[in-house]
């Protein structure tokens, strides 16, 4: 009886219900995107009293010929690749380990996600202390007890060892995300599939390849894509841990707020947008081609 008027009202009601979300996203995501593009053509400092001057593509030219940017791009790609592969593989391995009933399973699962939900600042304090050059427990164990290094690596003061440190930190911090995602999907796999494979004489690796991998593929794609995007734009973990690893996030932040060059920072953002879109479009094509829509 009341069904007919309902259809009519949907447009209006939907607009009303979605208004707060859409308004905020337009104001604080869509408009800033356009604004970014506009600012990128200007020479503009952070001081609001200084008028911006139009300089065309000058900012872009400057960035794309800047060795610091290109190096930073390389560092960021390597950082993203290593942390995505590391956190995904570790997360999957731990999920497989957890995919059986055992005592303390629930509490163990809660404990593992602690590193993932705690704020970076707390974790970074602990890591800075553990890896301290003079009295950190890591150097004590690796140098004085196990003699892995002759001399304590200066974890925070050399680009090479700092890079290793931020990668290990990211894998440690983000594998729980892959872990919970994979554990959820692993629990839906029918056990008879494994039993059938076993009767066929499949080895553990073959069982993984034939049964597990196809079943977790949709989740694997999502986990890898999202993690890759987030690691590519990582700022605070690296910024708080060390000033020796110049990823794009840090390059962008410092251009804007340390060197007060908003125009150049905006054009870095635009370049990163373009990379993001390229990745999304590429991923979409892959996902569609795999038939996982």
């Amino acid at each position: 009886m009341k069904r007919k008027p309902k259809k009519k009202n949907d447009n209006k009601l939907a607009a009303l219900l979605l208004f707060p979300s859409i308004f905020l996203i337009l104001l604080l995501v869509a408009y800033p995107m356009v604004s970014n593009l506009q600012i990128s053509f200007f020479e503009q400092s952070i001081n609001p009293n200084l008028d911006p001057t139009f300089i065309g593509f000058e900012n872009y030219k400057e960035i794309l010929t800047d060795g610091v940017f290109l190096r930073s791009l390389g560092i960021t790609f390597l950082y993203t690749f290593l942390t995505v592969v590391g956190s995904t593989v570790v997360g999957l391995a731990v999920a497989i380990l957890f995919n059986r009933p055992f005592k303390f399973r629930k509490i163990s699962r809660s404990l593992i996600i602690a590193s993932y939900v705690a704020p970076s600042i707390s974790l970074v304090f602990a890591w800075k202390y553990m890896f301290n050059n003079n009295y950190g427990i890591i150097n004590y164990v690796t140098v004085d007890v196990l003699h892995l290094f002759d001399q304590a690596p200066l974890w925070f003061d050399r680009p090479g060892s700092s890079f290793v440190l931020v990668v290990i930190f990211a894998i440690w911090r983000y594998f729980p995300y892959a872990f919970i995602s994979f554990l959820a999907i692993l629990q839906t796999i029918d056990n008879t599939l494994y039993e059938a494979a076993e009767i066929d004489g499949a080895s553990a690796w073959e069982k993984f390849k034939v049964v597990t991998l196809p079943a977790i593929m949709p989740v694997l794609i999502i986990v890898v894509t999202l993690r890759a995007i987030w690691m590519f734009y990582m700022f605070e973990d690296v910024y708080l841990l060390t000033n020796q690893v110049n990823t794009l996030g840090i390059y962008l932040y410092e251009t804007a707020f340390a060197f007060n060059d908003l125009g150049k920072a905006a054009s870095i953002s635009v370049i990163l947008f373009i990379i993001l879109f390229a990745v999304i479009i590429l991923m979409r094509k892959r996902v569609n081609a795999d038939g996982n829509g």
């Binding site: 009341k2 069904r3 979605l18 104001l27 800033p32 600012i39 602690a114 202390y129 009295y135 962008l252």
Partner: protein, 286 residues
């Protein structure tokens, strides 16, 4: 036959040993930094910088916990309150807006629904980092620079897409018949949201609340851009200033780290059974 049985039993036992060994390694690696945090916060300052580090304190002390709550030494309570206010506001507003948005996307048929749906998903993948320059200008021109309001509104936008996505998948599981029956009884759409949809998806709403609270509580980037005076600082940037002082005390920093991490870790611990993983749930941006 007997020997085969015995060996398979032995096999089972070795497997079990390996399993618990693996579990122990995973737990130790995951929790070791937290253990160090806790133990250092309970050591006195001399022991914290001893050349030969100790695992457990030789002398247990609570002085660092007393110190961080002493406003003369360090404005921890101010930072904590700012973080709490900002995070509660972000979580509450995100929950409200995302209930409305998710209901529309899940239950209503309207023009542009699928476009809006997929644009939310794209926004979810965006990082706030890419928008810092224009956001800084917008916040300044709205005269919101150095206010907690600036942080609240920008963080709501960070949480909304995932919040809507999470709730929509909850609402999708509520059968339409239920709503139609309620409409027959004379309830309008708004009443249906409050009397039927919300009570049925309480666990989803709790996870959205926890998620949004966590994003706000952990945020460092926006706070570092929008806040400049110490009385407005939230915990992440407030604590970071501890490193700028030359005479930082490790025990105090570790005590502060623990108390800062506790609210979100406890919230997740309690609501953990609602977290099922997957595409967006519990996804931390940044």
């Amino acid at each position: 036959m007997l020997m085969a049985m015995a060996s398979s039993r032995k096999d089972k036992r070795t497997r079990k040993i390996f399993f618990y060994l693996g579990l122990a390694i995973v737990l130790i690696v995951s929790l070791f930094p937290f253990f160090i945090m806790l133990m250092t916060s309970l050591k006195n300052s001399a022991e914290a910088i001893a050349q030969v580090p100790t695992l457990l304190p030789k002398q247990w002390t609570l002085e660092h916990y007393v110190d961080i709550f002493n406003p003369v030494l360090f404005p921890y309570i101010t930072y904590f309150n700012n973080s709490l206010i900002v995070s509660l506001m972000v979580a509450a507003i995100s929950v409200l807006f995302s209930i409305f948005g998710a209901y529309a996307l899940s239950k209503l048929k309207f023009f542009g629904r699928s476009t809006i749906n997929s644009s939310f998903y794209i926004v979810y993948m965006f990082s706030g980092l890419l928008l810092v320059v224009p956001l800084f200008k917008i916040i300044s021109s709205l005269n919101l620079y150095d206010t907690r309001t600036a942080l609240v509104i920008t963080l709501i936008v960070q949480t909304l897409p995932a919040a809507i996505y999470m709730l929509k998948s909850y609402f999708d599981t509520i059968p339409d018949d239920l709503e139609e029956a309620a409409m027959m009884d004379g309830l309008n759409r708004i009443q249906i949201i409050f009397y039927i949809i919300i009570p049925l998806s309480i666990s989803g709403i709790i996870s959205v609340f926890v998620y949004a609270f966590m994003i706000a509580w952990n945020d460092f980037l926006f706070a570092s851009i929008f806040l400049s005076s110490s009385e407005n600082f939230t915990l992440p940037i407030g604590l970071n200033t501890l490193f700028s002082t030359p005479d930082y005390v490790w025990g105090r920093m570790m005590a502060a780290s623990i108390v800062t991490a506790l609210p979100v870790v406890i919230m997740y611990g309690i609501t953990e059974r609602y977290i099922k993983g997957g595409a967006t749930e519990g996804g931390v941006k940044g």
